[in-house]
């Protein structure tokens, strides 16, 4: 499935950009993030260089505390790096003023959190409409687009449910619908399957792969190699730096897996009935 490569990540990246004419949709250069706590200084990122190419599906792996979420927040423009720069579709965003950053987050990036981060006591439809409100879309168009996005993640029958009336997998699908409703060029997902059972996890991965096949760049964080292997490339983080990366020659097809799981379930059900 995947071939581990032990060459240094930066050399590999140069090699890759040189051999293909890949267009980077995200460029991270020399990014560090340091947290100054009372007495302790935490170096969450120690100089990360990374290109994410348009249309690719990239997985970021690493042990807990290695800086995966911090890196995602920086490239998702949810947090500022201590030093280094981030370019989105070739545009330097590191020194943009906050309201411009908000516009970039709104239109070009969709973020899926491990903890879902839906507005409580607010329907699935209203949650998905949220980015469209700040994009200035009229209310009729908002409802239509949000319904389409919920349809895309298979939740068209749950649009008036509140978050606490949905399962974890369904909440995560609402969060994905919210991330893709503005038709962003990049979707970032931080451990999107971390809180879910395996069946829901496969469903989420199938949705992300479907988005990727439609041309959206997907970056996902996971500590599970099987989940990471749904992407075409895996970056390994360790203690705030990229330690190696690997290319997945034959990414796992989540949709095929899901169908196999459904078929197996049907068979065992039939068997149970026959008995």
């Amino acid at each position: 499935m995947s071939v581990p490569q032990d060459r240094p990540a930066s050399a590999f990246a140069k090699d890759l950009t040189g051999s293909k004419i890949a267009r980077p949709v995200l460029t991270v250069t020399g990014v560090t993030k340091t947290y100054f706590l009372d007495e302790v200084v935490v170096h969450a990122l120690r100089g990360v260089d990374l290109d994410v190419n348009a249309g690719e599906m990239l997985a970021i792996m690493g042990p807990s505390g290695s800086g995966k979420s911090t890196l995602m927040h920086v490239i998702g423009l949810l947090d500022l790096p201590t030093s280094g720069t981030v370019k989105v579709e070739g545009e330097e965003v590191s020194d943009m003023e906050p309201n411009k950053l908000a516009a970039v987050r709104n239109k070009r990036i969709g973020f899926v959190f491990q903890a879902f981060n839906l507005l409580p006591r607010t329907t699935a439809l209203a949650n998905v409409e949220l980015p469209l409100i700040y994009a200035g879309v009229s209310s009729a168009d908002r409802a239509r687009l949000a319904k389409e996005a919920l349809e895309q993640v298979g939740l068209d029958d749950r649009i008036h449910h509140l978050p606490n009336q949905l399962s974890g997998g369904q909440q995560q699908r609402v969060a994905i619908a919210r991330a893709l409703v503005t038709k962003p060029s990049i979707v970032l997902a931080d451990e999107p399957t971390g809180n879910l059972d395996s069946r829901s996890g496969v469903e989420i991965m199938a949705i992300l792969q479907q988005l990727n096949s439609e041309g959206i760049t997907v970056v996902l964080v996971t500590h599970d190699h099987a989940v990471a292997s749904h992407g075409q490339r895996i970056i390994h983080l360790g203690d705030g730096s990229i330690v190696r990366q690997e290319t997945v020659l034959e990414p796992i097809d989540a949709k095929a897996n899901l169908e196999a799981m459904l078929a197996a379930a049907a068979v065992s059900e039939a068997a149970a009935e026959a008995r």
Binding site: D79, P98, F111, N117, L119, T122, L130, Y134, S139, R178
Partner: protein, 395 residues
């Protein structure tokens, strides 16, 4: 994003957090209603009492039981020996005939006619009362000397009493129930106005002994002496003191109209200040309630702000939403508080005189609304400046 969109977001957010919204509004409502009501009571009582004195004729000297000079200040005064008809007879006997001696008993009563009930003040006196309680008759007459001697159950209605019990009717000859006793109406008065409330119009006049029976007492509230001329007030005051001292000792006070008004104003001013103090505490309690609810929900609301910013809300979008939310809650709560306070003041008028004042309404409304807006907007303003991830992580 236009303003209606912001209003819609705010309404949705208020609706999504209904309990918090209602509790915040409750804080505003309690503060506003309490202040309006308590200040209305203080002002109402003060107006009624001073209005009663101001509505009297001129050249008056009042005799009260108890010594107000040495009892004044901290301990107040106690009445060991109430005034009775004996003192009236003594004064009438010894003062020159050109001065009028008028005994007065006054007290609260409940009036009823048919199914209409109201609270009023009764004033019982003798045939000279006309010269003290100056008022123009719309119809009927004053009670006569014979009726005073017999203690007849006849009554003269102040204009407000008439308007409440017999609206658009001639009350003369009608029956009226006063604290359970039947009276016949023999006269009714024109509105005196003058005082804002017209509380001197909410009185009912009758012969002394009838009033004493209604109130269940044999004492007098005061004795009023009307001097024949203004420049003889001081000498008459001295004369009264000399006449009463042998029998009452120091247990009485003689004051001119001016002195009485001054004293009552001081006393009632203290009452109003006390009520205003209680009102202030209510306002503070309401304010702390609002603050508490707002601050308790800061962490949840900060996370909400984080979510909104993460999906593209600008600082302005966040601020305008929270300003609209806070203003809507506070203004709505304030208006409901004004309605309840005002309505309560009107409803209480059957028990206690009340007078709603503009400054109390304004102060209570703007203070509570201000607290609501400040504590709704300030934490949001701080949160809106955080990086989205910091807001999302807030605890």
């Amino acid at each position: 994003m236009n303003i209606w969109e912001s209003v819609r977001i705010a309404v949705r957010a208020l609706n999504a957090n209904r309990v918090r919204s209602l509790l915040t509004m409750l804080g505003v409502i309690i503060g506003v209603a309490a202040v309006i009501l308590l200040v209305a009571i203080g002002t109402g009582v003060q107006d009624e009492v001073t209005g009663t004195i101001e509505g009297l004729g001129s050249n008056l000297i009042f005799v009260f039981a108890g010594n107000m000079e040495d009892g004044g200040g901290g301990s107040g005064f106690s009445i060991n020996r109430p005034l009775t008809s004996a003192e009236v007879d003594l004064l009438a006997d010894r003062l020159s005939d050109e001065h009028r001696v008028v005994p007065v008993v006054q007290g609260p009563v409940t009036l009823r006619s048919g199914n209409r009930t109201m609270r009023s003040t009764v004033a019982g006196s003798n045939e000279y009362a006309e010269e003290v309680f100056t008022a123009d008759y719309i119809g009927g007459r004053h009670y006569r000397r014979s009726e005073v001697i017999a203690g007849s159950r006849v009554a003269i209605l102040g204009s407000r009493v008439r308007d409440n019990l017999f609206p658009f009717q001639d009350p003369i000859g009608r029956e009226i129930d006063i604290n359970g006793l039947r009276f016949t109406v023999i006269g009714h008065l024109a509105a005196q106005g003058g005082s804002l409330t017209g509380d001197q119009d909410n009185q009912i006049f009758m012969p002394l002994s009838a009033a004493q029976r209604v109130l269940g007492t044999t004492d007098l509230s005061s004795i009023i002496v009307r001097a024949a001329e203004a420049d003889r007030i001081d000498s008459v005051q001295a004369q009264i003191e000399r006449i009463l001292r042998p029998s009452l000792g120091e247990e009485f006070s003689v004051m001119t109209q001016e002195q009485t008004l001054g004293m009552l104003s001081t006393l009632l001013g203290t009452l109003t200040v006390m009520l205003a103090g209680i009102a202030g505490i209510s306002l503070l309690v309401g304010g702390v309630g609002i603050m508490n609810i707002m601050l308790v929900s800061v962490s949840e609301r900060t996370r909400e702000i984080g979510i909104r910013k993460a999906v593209g809300a600008k600082t302005y979008d966040i601020l305008i939403q929270f300003v609209i939310e806070a203003v809507m809650l506070s203004v709505l709560g304030g208006l409901i508080g004004v309605l309840i306070g005002w309505g309560g003041a009107l409803a209480l008028q059957a028990v206690v005189p009340t007078q709603v004042t503009a400054w109390a309404v304004g102060l209570a409304f703007f203070f509570s609304a201000g607290v609501g807006v400040f504590f709704g907007v300030y934490p949001a303003w701080r949160a809106s400046k955080l990086e989205p991830i910091a807001a999302l992580r807030y605890e």
